[in-house]
């Protein structure tokens, strides 16, 4: 059997495009005289650009050094917010009053392009044309949607040409290293797997779980997602570990469950844990400070009576929808 010919557009093309965006962020940072963290930001986004554009050509060790560079820059405080030139709050208010709800339109356009593309991909011969890397067509539609939205916004609002990149840099610097964390956590899960961590958790689970009891297996997966999220404060860290410890070997391979339902709803079971942990500071502690609440756990307490039933619902949904 000969392997199928490569698609016209591969993931590599996507990485080049996104890498070019990060390279532009890095360059604009370099010329940013106002930000104190300009050089750190330039180095950080420059490394991301290098990873995206050159990652396939570097050795694994070289890619590892890029990761360590990113971690060092972020972990020791070399990156930070920036203030590229943008509009003032008063100007924004005036624009908003002038344009009204049409301002949502370019964002909605992205969703419409992705939905139309996906429908066409699945229900017309367009899907058989081998245009896109298999199973990754959504990202190509996303990029198409983004360009359509940019085109519309550019014609309609007539911003300076460099404005989309500067505004994008403003947002990426506000998000900072958190933009790279999900990718790092999935990589962590993979190395954990190779080092035997997932295997040990799987072993422990199988030791306590009576064989052949599907419901208990689902409940333990949901509980693992929620508990791991509570102790780490991060469902993204929990998912790769729980997926290779329990979801894949047990729920998908042994019991033949629907992988998409197990994955999607399993992550949402993890989010129930996020609602219950003070370690998820962005969600549970930041509002305590902003709203000047007396009890540091006030938001978590307000969430418990939603989080617990939602956890039960998610476990039930996996049990009934995935099998």
């Amino acid at each position: 059997m000969t392997p199928p010919p490569p698609a016209l557009l591969t993931l590599e093309h996507l990485y080049w495009l996104v890498g070019a965006m990060f390279a532009a962020f890095a360059l604009l940072s370099l010329f940013d005289r106002k930000s104190k963290k300009a050089l750190g930001n330039a180095a950080f986004w420059g490394l991301m650009a290098a990873s995206l554009i050159g990652g396939s050509y570097f050795s694994n060790f070289g890619n590892g050094l890029i990761v360590l560079g990113l971690v060092g820059l972020a972990g020791f405080g070399f990156t930070g917010r920036s203030q590229p030139k943008t509009t003032s709050p008063a100007e924004r208010k005036a624009f908003a009053d002038l344009r009204g709800n049409w301002l949502f339109m370019p964002a909605v356009l992205i969703v419409l392009v992705v939905l139309a593309g996906t429908l066409a991909f699945h229900f017309t011969p367009f899907g058989q044309a081998n245009l896109f890397a298999p199973r990754r067509e959504t990202y190509f539609f996303l990029v198409a949607g983004v360009f359509a939205a940019l085109l519309v916004a550019q014609l309609w609002l007539k911003p300076p040409v460099v404005a989309p990149l500067q505004e994008g840099r403003r947002l990426i610097d506000a998000i900072g290293w958190a933009a790279v964390l999900p990718q790092l956590l999935v990589a962590m899960g993979t190395v954990f797997d190779k080092a035997g961590v997932s295997g040990l958790i799987r072993e422990g689970t199988l030791a306590v779980l009576p064989p052949g009891n599907l419901f208990l297996a689902v409940a333990v997966f949901g509980l693992g997602m929620a508990m791991f999220t509570i102790i780490t404060g991060n469902a993204f860290a929990a998912f790769p570990v729980m997926a290779s410890a329990i979801a894949v070997p047990l729920l998908i391979e042994t019991y033949g469950g629907n992988a998409a339902a197990i994955g999607a709803i399993g992550m949402l079971a993890g989010f129930c844990g996020t609602l219950m942990t003070p370690l998820a500071a962005n969600f549970n502690i930041v509002p305590v400070r902003l709203l000047e609440l007396q009890d540091p756990n006030a938001v978590i307490k307000a969430q418990l009576a939603t989080a617990i039933p939602m956890f039960v619902v998610n476990v039930a949904l996996i049990y009934f929808l995935a099998f």
């Binding site: 990060f22 060790f61 940019l150 990426i172 964390l181 860290a237 894949v248 009890d295």
Partner: protein
């Protein structure tokens, strides 16, 4: 006992996150510790980490959306979003927060999760509106009641975001699911994952709205 040594990475994760250390540093320390404890050499751990990071570059692709969102913000997207929420006024607290929950779930589901949040909408707009509404229902609020109203507002924002955002196919968590399963040779498309987030979104709306209706009732009863 040494059989269990690789679990040291998990221990470091828990400790590091509990001590509020930078998560990038914590995750990397955990990887190095588990890798070394699992019998890999230092260069091998770094290589495995680098390969895994490189194999998951698709997670970075979702940020391609930022220039559009930033551009719309330049022309008042946030201000317009706030104006839309402010038009919900004159509702009781529970009803106001139900409307906000729906707004938050819907905007998150179409990729506009950055236009709302604790700093963007909760503390400048929704919480003050909720307090005014509560005073109308309840009369002057004691500190404990005011605190409960504010906490419920923040809680509603989190619930709306968490159980709305995964319907959007180009969000971090969807890509994390896709990639974590892809490393185990299970290939899924983001759109099919996003569709499975819909039942939970509906359940979250029903459960949290019910609580908000009860919250309204409790406030009114306390007024008598």
């Amino acid at each position: 006992m040494s059989h269990y040594l690789p679990l040291i990475g998990v221990l470091l994760l828990v400790l590091g996150f509990a001590l509020r250390l930078n998560p990038m540093l914590v995750a990397t320390a955990a990887v190095l510790a588990s890798g070394l404890a699992g019998g890999m050499g230092l260069t091998q751990v770094i290589s495995e980490f680098g390969k895994a990071f490189n194999d998951n570059r698709i997670i970075a692709v979702v940020w391609i959306i930022l220039p559009v969102i930033g551009l719309l913000e330049r022309y008042g997207l946030q201000e317009r979003a706030k104006g839309l929420i402010a038009s919900f006024k004159n509702a009781a607290v529970g009803k106001l927060l139900i409307l906000y929950l729906l707004y938050r779930q819907f905007t998150a589901a179409i990729g506009l999760h950055v236009t709302a949040g604790h700093a963007q909408t909760v503390s400048p707009i929704v919480a003050p509106m909720a307090l005014v509404a509560a005073e109308k229902q309840h009369g002057a609020l004691d500190d404990a009641t005011a605190e409960r109203v504010k906490a419920m507002t923040a809680a509603t924002d989190n619930v709306g975001l968490f159980f709305g955002e995964d319907i959007f196919f180009a969000i971090g968590s969807i890509v994390v699911i896709q990639q974590a399963l892809a490393t185990r040779n299970i290939e899924l498309s983001p759109v099919e994952l996003a569709l499975w987030a819909i039942p939970t979104a509906i359940a979250a709306f029903i459960i949290h709205s019910t609580r908000l209706v009860l919250f309204d009732r409790a406030l009114r009863r306390a007024a008598k």
